[in-house]
Amino acid sequence: MPEPVPVTVIAWIVEGTWPACVDAAATHAPEGADIVLLHVTGPDVPGAAHGAYAGLLGRGRPERDPGSRLQELAATSAQRLQRAAADRLGRPCRGLERSGRIEREVVATAEGAGLLIVARDGDRSHLGPRSLSPATRFVVDHAPCAVLLVWPEAAPAVATIPPPPPGPPRPPE
């Protein structure tokens, strides 16, 4: 009988909320699972610096463009994040660093995976609406596999759900 292929569990690690995803991977990934710590570096932050420098007409000297420095710094920072996440997980895993449009890279990587673990990263002061940032909402909406959505901290109480909108008027009895 062929050996069963280990299930792939992807933990999407993002600055600020990654520990919750790593902890969920430690709890929910089955023994022997192929755990992937996925981090995506978006082009927009170095892009903002490139753009700001391009706006300074006549300065020349492309070697002074701060966007290039930010790209180097972003690579270093991603490595540090991957190391911290692997240390916290304390299980065999592999790091995967991608760059590009963040939400699309995450969805593309999740193809064929058994589980994608994502942290809420919107307004987390209460349950519901807008507890997902636009990028996370896109990932949850488009994920081609099962998604585990975790709270980065203890979930707020159910009483924090905003009251329902008034229902339609009832016909007179």
Partner: protein, 429 residues
Amino acid sequence: MSPSPLREGLVLNTSLTETLSVALLAGVLACALVRPWGWPEAVVAVPAALVLLGTGVISLDQARSVAQRLGPVIGFLAAVLVLAQLSDDEGLFRACGSWMARAAAGRPRRLLLAVFVLASVVTAVLSLDAAVVLLTPVVFATAARLGARPRPHVYACTHLANTASLLLPVSNLTNLLAFAASGLSFTRFAALMALPWLVAIGAEYAVFRRFFASDLDAGAEAPLAAEAPDVPVFVLAVVACTLAGFALASAAGVNPAWAALAGTAVLAARGLAQRRTTPAAIARAANVPFLLFVLALGIVVRAVVDNGLAGALGHLVPADITLPSLLATAVLSAVLANVINNLPAVLVLLPLAAPVGPGAVLAVLLGANIGPNLTYAGSLATLLWRRIAREHDSGVDLGEFTRLGLLTVPAALILAVLALWASLHVIGG
């Protein structure tokens, strides 16, 4: 009656000089955007100015008057560029990173506030070049060190490099040009612009807190151990004395560029003595090709303005400083800045606004300095070229940049114009 041959020749001449000067300006700006073969911008701008001189489109006297007006401005600019670089060599920006990390105390919203305060002060005192080139990487590194999402903080730094460059004549090259044309003293300029500066920064801050709410809520870690930053006392003292020198020089009727030069000389002497810098590095920081470009661009723009553009645009600049007029001037300047770039926009609008008075000149600056945040590369022309050349732009979400610009620029601009109008009434132009 048929026109005399003399009159016909004059008309032909005028249209020829008009065409030549406009074509040369277009060429200079296009080359500044495209930088063919990586040439410095001056390589095209200086010959263009010489062609205008050689063909008599601009007279030697006109060119000399431009050079006399721009010379001190360019000297001032060089001193500030070197001052910022030497401050960096002395560890000023490294210290900025430590301060921001400590002030943030592991909370992204506090980090954003610290970035706003520091980026505004750095831009105002050491110019927008310092904020973009020297502070932005420090802001990113600080956010990364704290585990905070860097986006709001880096965007804040790039936005404030424009918006917070309203305060002092040294904050932006556009201001130095306007300062020379306005006839205002250094302190009066700063006094009139203080309220617009604060109001525009406040508008940016309010928008940023909401726009980046989810990034700011994502959290961060407190810095490892309470690292006590080394306070670079010497450089702080020199910068403070330079600022005081601006006010004193202005009161004494001396060009404040001398104060900038003195501060730079002190830091340069120390940097050279301690082998932290070299004469070559100082010369590089002064960026001579850039200074030549500014002078040559000034001459080319003068030719265009004198050969017809003043007539064409003249009626667009309102002739008084009522609130609607200030607003119209600022919007015109913002639109022009967004089409090409704020530097040529200011050079074109200054000769038209200066006769109206300092209020109109400062309104031009509000538009030219706040406006560029609307397009992420400072202007549509730059943006278009970067898209064509695919420079660094693969996958950049232009929609988000533009949404942020649409939320910040109109709000900051309108509020700043109101503040300027109030300042003009209280302090007087």
